[in-house]
């Protein structure tokens, strides 16, 4: 069950390589920013699922919305001559690392609680050591 997303990722990569889709070089940066947004959303979703606050609708809408908004932001930035995509890169990058950090700590916490057989409840340590 948990391997289904991984299989999906592999499937997506396979489709991408099999289908001969090329994006004009000018729009290549939009795709990269969209990928960053998507990555951020995916890690956000994983974190939410670990924190048991996952909402499918929020997750899916967030994924597509963030992706599109990021590309749109990059487009506006190009039109205005301001490197707005940098803002998206920084924002998504920071969020990405935060999410990964949270996921890591949750995972460690779970391993710890399982090993020591501490009281159940998914208690989180205070988020101060990012």
């Amino acid at each position: 069950m948990i391997w289904l997303p991984v299989l999906g990722l592999i499937l997506g990569v396979g489709i991408g390589f099999a289908v001969n889709v090329t994006i004009p070089v000018a729009y290549s940066s939009y795709l990269s920013i969209a990928i960053l947004a998507a990555l951020d959303t995916v890690f956000g979703g994983i974190r939410a699922s670990m924190e048991k606050t996952f909402d499918g609708a929020v997750f899916l809408s967030g994924f597509f919305f963030n992706t599109l908004v990021a590309a749109l932001l990059a487009y506006i930035g190009v039109q205005l001559g301001v490197d707005l995509y940098l803002a998206a890169v920084v924002a998504f990058g920071v969020r990405l690392f935060q999410n990964i950090a949270v996921i890591r700590r949750i995972a460690f916490n779970r391993m710890h609680t399982r090993r020591t057989r501490a009281p159940e409840g998914g208690h989180l340590p205070p988020a101060d050591s990012r």
Partner: protein
């Protein structure tokens, strides 16, 4: 619990498929850009220049055609305006002669044609078997001296300002690069021109003695010659080329 878990997995899967697709597309793009960045750029640049060159050549040819058209119209008008006035007619005739000499108009008439080719080297100095620019010059000079009214090399008109220069393996005539065989045509009195070329110890004899492949001068009743063109034109469209 199961429902949320299924939902989670499903949405994650959907997102993962899209993400994987995007990543692979981007990767492919980046990889192809890494492999052939410079040749692609050069290719497009080259193609652009080739297209430009073609367009210029076409425009050039078009302009040449227009020029010839206008010149012929002009001569028609002049003929019409000559009318009955005797002195004016004479002046027009002189003008026409000068025009022909200057190579401004296409001319047609009887004349001779001779072809110079590089001879087959049989040892010794190779350069003596080749047709040089001065060989062509001496033939042309001989023809003009014998009274040729118009001379052309491979369809390119030779006028007073024309130069015949050696540029490596080819010869430049009016900035057109031409290679052997050189077909030299001259309009004028065919008999006089022919005898001027074929006289004993003349230019052609001297060339033959050196081993250059020289054809016998051929008398042709109708030789068509294009007007003088200064620069390179597209694909020799204005050249009468050879046996006119």
């Amino acid at each position: 619990m199961i429902a949320t878990r299924t939902k989670l997995t499903l949405s994650l899967t959907v997102v993962a498929v899209v993400l994987g697709f995007m990543i692979s597309v981007q990767y492919k793009q980046q990889a192809s850009a890494r492999v052939t960045p410079v040749p692609m750029a050069r290719d497009t640049d080259e193609q652009r220049m080739v297209t430009q060159l073609d367009a210029l050549k076409q425009a050039n040819a078009q302009a040449q055609k227009e020029l010839a058209d206008i010149t012929s119209k002009l001569s028609v008008y002049e003929k019409q305006s000559a009318g009955s006035d005797g002195s004016l007619k004479q002046l027009q005739q002189v003008l026409q002669d000068e025009r022909i000499l200057a190579g401004l108009t296409a001319v047609t008439g009887p004349g001779v044609s001779v072809t110079l080719m590089d001879g087959v080297a049989k040892g010794g100095d190779v350069s003596q078997y080749l047709t040089h620019d001065w060989d062509i010059r001496s033939v042309i000079n001989e023809l003009f001296t014998a009274g040729a009214e118009a001379v052309s090399i491979n369809g390119y008109r030779v006028v007073a300002t024309s130069g015949v220069f050696c540029t490596g393996p080819v010869v430049r005539v009016n900035d057109h690069r031409i290679g052997a065989p050189f077909v030299i045509q001259a309009i004028g009195d065919p008999q006089t021109l022919k005898s001027a070329l074929t006289q004993q110890g003349g230019v052609l004899d001297a060339l033959r003695q050196r081993g250059v492949n020289v054809s016998d001068p051929q008398i042709q009743q109708v030789i068509k010659m294009p007007p003088f063109t200064a620069g390179p034109t597209a694909g020799g469209d204005t050249s009468g080329d050879g046996e006119g």
